[in-house]
Symmetry: C2
């Protein structure tokens, strides 16, 4: 197996590109893919202040590293979700990465600052853990980006993630979701611009990037994700990709090129224009209280068997700089 | 396991309907599903003369039987494809079914009447066997329906078939195909009306129907279908269906209800209006010679190493009535 570029010994194969790469040219391939995604979808402009949502897993650490390599100005944001050991170890990976490079990592701890963790929030809301977790992370990421004055919020969603979400939306023809699925969501009415620079890289490639680059990431999957439908969708797409390399990318980018517009033209609203504000936290919201504040109420009422909702909480952005101490 | 209707011992479970059925009520369930599909999509009008494309497999024999049960006037049409033993045995099943019920079965034998079989046609056209086979069957089915004066051509495509085709079209966002995918194709400009009354029944259910009804069908898959992508798509959808019963039906009928129209409104032609005629056989065709006549030329030229195409061939509908003799 020889590197497509230099004919030296290759260590990674990228079957959909029909190419093998040596370590250096694989890293360059990854940078090129991210640079191309950023350019193609106008994700980040020169001089933008970028906040990346960091979990300590391969994708978020890879995208942070890649954006720095490409010369962007990026700080990290980590949310402690209170999922036992998993959260402890994921936080350590995020902090270690930031510390080793002298980067700014902001942190919010859900149990400490909002009085509940994801298992409690999930039980209280009677929803799947991934749903309570998604609500919490979206809210905290958005607020951190807006309140920190960042121009853009980056998440580590890769091609497999996006293709699996697309597959789920297509399986149930959720046309409103299909109208909104895109690698860039523009800033609007209280929401920050959100972008996914890893959409041109697969899960396997972001993992290989971390390994080749010596980035120590949290390998374990979240223990609460068992039964998550998107894992089944990823498996199904992986089976097909194995037989026909390139299908996953064709599915996702073909959607963006040839189909997304048809759903957008038929969409029934769903954008943020005209949204009100959450009475408590001021986030954009259709209801009096936003989904996150309602989750806080349910989770903390449930926990303390109180009938009165807790007092409003201000987001406190803790900052770790070159600091490996546990919080 | 008890029958949902009569509480007697059940023999078939239909997980997406969360129901078990005894033999009699399962047969009624199947009839109801077919009757509902026919009504919902206006497939067959009272008094229509119906031609069903028969392969000798579970789907075509089940749909023939079900249409008769529902009181329709149905004759069968069988194409001998020259795929060795597979074709010999499939023809026997089709003839035996017709003979045992005193039904009319028309037949065309591809090697006898056109001078090539599917393996030869596939090699000559340098296309996958399923492609040469599809071209041949579509052409011969359409002509048989038109020349026999039938009002409607029925095929045995079931829910799994349609969902797999939809999945393939979606994976590659073939928007023109998506615009045309429907359980009914109206008659137009030389093409007969084509309908799929089994779209509300899964593959497993049509097989169970035949078993319960004592219909002796050809169980073997076509030996040339190995590597066919739709088999992979079916496997992928079956994995998902197993975890979330009902997903396959939701995918297909959700498409028809909520998405198909958006592709049709954006479609760039592809309907038969304005098509010319094949110079040789008179079928609707965009080119001077239709796809089937071109296939005949390539296959027979290849076989006999001739440089001149063979003379035009008239379709001869052979008829078997209550007759089990091999042809």
């Amino acid at each position: 197996m020889k590197c497509r570029v230099c004919r030296g010994p290759a260590v990674v194969d990228v079957r959909r590109a029909n190419a093998n790469f040596c370590p250096d040219h694989f890293l360059r391939f990854c940078r090129d893919q991210v640079d191309r995604a950023i350019g193609e979808f106008a994700m980040i402009a020169p001089g933008d202040r970028v906040l990346v949502a960091v979990s300590g897993g391969k994708d978020s650490l890879a995208v942070w590293d890649l954006l720095l390599e490409l010369g962007h100005d990026v700080e990290g944001f980590y949310v402690g979700l209170g999922i036992g050991d998993y959260s402890d170890v994921s936080g350590q990976h995020a902090r270690r990465f930031a510390a080793s490079r002298g980067l700014v990592l902001h942190e919010v701890d859900l149990p400490e600052e909002y009085g509940f963790d994801i298992p409690e929030g999930s039980r209280a809301a009677r929803r799947a853990p991934c749903s309570a977790c998604g609500t919490s992370k979206r809210h905290l990421f958005d607020r951190a980006a807006i309140e920190g004055g960042f121009d853009v919020l980056v998440t580590g969603h890769n091609l497999d993630d996006e293709a699996a979400v697309l597959f789920g939306n297509v399986l149930h023809w959720q046309t409103d979701y299909l109208a909104r699925q895109a690698p860039v969501l523009p800033a609007s009415n209280g929401f920050p611009r959100k972008v996914k620079p890893l959409v041109r890289l697969s899960e396997r490639e972001t993992a290989a990037y971390c390994i080749v680059k010596g980035i120590d990431y949290l390998v374990e999957e979240c223990p609460m994700s068992a039964g998550n439908k998107h894992i089944g969708y990823k498996d199904a797409l992986n089976d097909i990709e194995l037989r026909s390399p390139g299908t996953k990318a064709d599915f996702y980018f073909g959607f963006l090129r040839r189909a997304a517009e048809q759903f957008r033209s038929g969409a029934t609203g769903g954008d943020a224009a005209g949204l009100g504000r959450c009475d408590r936290c001021g986030s954009p919201s259709e209801a009096e209280l936003c989904a996150f504040c309602r989750l806080v109420d349910r989770a903390t009422t449930d926990r303390h068997s109180r009938s009165v909702p807790p007092a409003p909480v201000e987001i406190q952005l803790g900052t770790t700089r070159s600091n490996e101490d546990p919080r």
